[in-house]
């Protein structure tokens, strides 16, 4: 066997390995795309759309002290249309008899003009908050390509106003998606992928390369909490249980981490759900994890690639995960599912006083009554 035979052998070997790798990637992509999945509609009770929100409600943060939900708006806006934050005030629990008569409206907040903040370069997505001594600090992920930062605001309730305090920017913020605040100016953020957007990001996600990351801002610097994470989309900090919940969009799992005093995280377990999770919310009292999903990924891709005038509907889904006493097993129920006709691409969720608030990537925000909270 001479040198030329060996090189041709090597060549054949590498080409076969290349074909094998390509075939498995294609098959894994077809399985990921959910081409065989269908979603059937059902609600946990009567639902209605929040008035005032048309082009996106991609992030929701509920502040129990004020009974107020903050909603990110504007991802679905055309170029030039600004991003906004709106609020929805939940009725007092005893006022539920009036639920059917009340008009459900989201109020837009003014953002005070300041030198540090550019209103025209603001594209809000995930949000989180920190409340102390009655003061609410709102931290918003800005996904505008020229401002890959977390914007910190102070909320002035009496004036329905947000005052911009500062922007926290870092070159490690590749594709910021969601944020979970753990203390004053201390938070975790997720990078969905290595590439920022466009075709490179889509290719990276389709090949399931797990190059996203979870970062920690400790008040001074931005560090990697988890350098290689499988497409982390949503993130939520469960304060009473000191748990960090992270949803993995492509791997279709929800990851649980325990958070230590020094804010280092320890991976505990993965909850496998076979549907792509986006937004997260943990009910304080019970510890139940509510998550919004994109059950059919190929529909989400077409939905994402569309324009505001014409977007193909993408199904929505909300699951409720109840961890059992042993902390390693769980029970899942599905309070809400929709084929996209009512609300498309659900990306955020909150559960307050037996009502489910569901936000969508580019569209309206839905509020549903949960008639049987113990069953749904």
């Amino acid at each position: 066997m001479g040198p030329s035979n060996f090189t041709s052998f090597l060549f054949k070997l590498t080409s076969w390995l290349g074909i094998v790798w390509l075939s498995t990637t294609i098959v894994r992509f077809i399985l990921l795309s959910d081409s065989n999945k269908r979603v059937y509609n059902h609600t946990p009770g009567p639902c209605r759309i929040l008035q005032g929100i048309e082009n996106g409600s991609a992030g929701i943060e509920y502040v129990p002290e004020l009974r107020l939900a903050f909603i990110s708006n504007g991802l679905g806006g055309s170029d030039g249309e600004i991003g906004r934050i709106l609020t929805y005030e939940f009725p007092e629990p005893k006022a539920e008899q009036d639920r059917s008569v009340k008009i459900h409206e989201a109020i837009p907040l003014k953002i005070q003009k300041s030198d540090s903040f550019r209103q025209d370069k603001f594209s809000p997505l995930g949000l989180s908050s920190f409340t102390s001594k009655g003061r609410v600090s709102l931290y918003v992920v800005n996904t505008h390509p020229e401002r890959k930062c977390v914007e910190a605001f102070t909320f002035v309730k009496e004036k329905s106003l947000l005052q911009h305090r500062k922007s926290i920017c870092d070159h490690k913020f590749n594709s910021l998606t969601d944020i979970a605040v753990v203390g004053a100016d201390r938070f975790f953020v997720t990078n969905l992928a290595y590439f920022n957007n466009g075709w490179m990001q889509m290719a990276e996600l389709s090949m399931q390369m797990n190059m996203g990351s979870i970062l920690l801002f400790n008040g001074k610097t931005v560090e990697y909490a988890e350098k290689y994470s499988p497409s982390p989309s949503g993130i939520f900090y469960d304060t009473p249980r000191e748990r960090l919940i992270v949803s993995s969009m492509i791997n279709e799992v929800i990851q649980l981490y325990s958070v230590k005093r020094d804010l280092s995280i320890d991976h505990k377990l993965d909850i496998s759900l076979l549907s792509s999770p986006g937004g997260l919310y943990v009910e304080q009292k019970s510890g139940d994890i509510f998550a919004s999903f994109h059950p059919v990924l190929n529909s989400l891709i077409f939905h994402w690639l569309g324009t505001n005038e014409e977007r193909k509907a993408s199904p929505s889904q909300v699951l409720r995960i109840r961890m059992q006493n042993d902390d390693v097993s769980w029970v899942v129920t599905e309070p809400y599912a929709n084929d996209g006709a009512t609300i498309s691409a659900s990306n955020a969720v909150a559960y307050v006083n037996d009502q489910l608030l569901i936000g969508s990537l580019f569209g309206k925000c839905l509020l549903c009554d949960v008639d049987y909270p113990t069953l749904a």
């Binding site: 065989n36 609600t43 009770g45 899942v332 599912a337 008639d371 049987y372």
Partner: protein
């Protein structure tokens, strides 16, 4: 020789993929209920079909179906009565077993399957499909109606006094034969009309027609074709002898029996994971379970479009192998092929 290997492999891979998808291997069913649910006590050998007599608010339930399983011939076939007007809240709702009288009635060979009714002069006439221990078929009424055209009846629906449409879901008479019939995609199903005196074949070459429902107001017949995972809508002629297809809907799930609601919409009990159903329906007395699902179809005015919702879904642990759903008086009864009968209260119709 090696050249042939690659296209053969590709075809085999394609067929395996198709089979994987058809058998629902990659599918997950999440649990949700329209309200509080509980099993009706006393029914545990099946409630395959439920027929509602709307004027009275009562429903008849068939139990103890034995289909191509000679080793289960000992299972007692029964018919239960459920009263939708009964007072709820004091424990589980009740269903009564109806005693069957008649000189020619053979309890040992009674394994009822689908049933339907027609009211004549205030008398409710029940027509029940029966399979004997050696899998001979008949429709039981005041007498036994037999016909060579009743090849393998599954469900039937009355379209007039002493007239009914009967669905034969295939031709094979044994389990093995049925497996071959399904895997080869042989279209051996047929729909037969009994006009009071004799049977006529109305449709043939179908892929497993199973459930049937009749919308008298709009003159429409609904039939679920299980092998194709579809529900078809037909116009029925005045003489009932002709069915013309209006539309066909791919529901991507195996719909078993159908029931009509007051407003013209159709409910069906479905098997969303057919791979589980294939195992569990052969293990009726054992531990295997199969996922359950109820679909609610609302038709557009021209019956060419539908809106589908899913009032109930379960992974099989609460109800296994759902085959029928009937809604009346803010309650839903969900029957299963060979296990219990589930009853749920519905507080708000928006969940349906």
């Amino acid at each position: 020789m090696a050249r042939l290997l690659i296209p053969v492999m590709i075809v085999l891979c394609g067929m395996t993929w198709r089979l994987y998808e058809l058998l629902d291997f990659g599918r997950t069913v999440y649990n949700h209920r329209p309200g509080a649910c509980r099993l009706v006590p006393g029914i545990d050998k099946g409630s395959e079909d439920v027929d509602l007599v709307r004027e009275e608010g009562i429903a008849f339930v068939t139990s103890g179906v034995v289909f191509m399983q000679p080793h289960r011939a000992h299972v007692k076939g029964k018919i239960f009565l459920y009263d939708f007007n009964q007072k709820l809240g004091g424990g589980a709702p009740k269903a009564k077993e109806l005693p069957i009288k008649g000189a020619s009635f053979d309890q040992n060979n009674f394994h009822p399957h689908g049933l339907t009714h027609w009211i004549v002069n205030g008398v409710i006439r029940l027509y029940v499909i029966n399979h004997s221990n050696d899998f001979k078929h008949s429709v039981e009424h005041k007498k036994s109606i037999k016909s060579p055209l009743f090849v393998r009846p599954n469900d039937l629906v009355a379209v007039g006094p002493d007239q009914f449409l009967l669905n034969n879901d295939g031709v094979a008479q044994t389990e093995l034969g049925n497996v071959i019939e399904i895997l080869t995609f042989y279209r051996g199903g047929s729909v037969v009309l009994w006009d009071g005196k004799e049977a006529h074949t109305v449709l043939s070459g179908m892929g497993g027609p199973n459930g049937a429902a009749f919308d008298a107001k709009n003159n429409k017949i609904f039939i679920s074709e299980v092998n194709k995972r579809k529900v078809n809508v037909y116009d029925i002629s005045k003489d009932k002898k002709t069915l013309t297809q209006v539309s066909s809907f791919d529901l991507y799930t195996v719909c078993d029996n159908l029931s009509m609601d007051n407003d013209g919409s159709v409910y069906c009990g479905c098997h969303p994971k057919i791979n589980e159903a294939a195992v569990a329906l052969n293990d009726c007395d054992g531990v295997s379970t199969s996922a359950s699902q109820v679909l609610h179809m609302r038709f557009g005015e021209d019956f060419k479009t539908i809106a589908v919702s899913e009032p109930y879904a379960n992974d099989g642990k609460e109800l296994s192998g759902s085959s029928i759903a009937v809604v009346h008086n803010n309650q839903i009864l969900i029957g299963s092929v060979c296990r219990g009968l589930l009853h749920c209260t519905i507080d708000d119709p928006s969940v349906l």
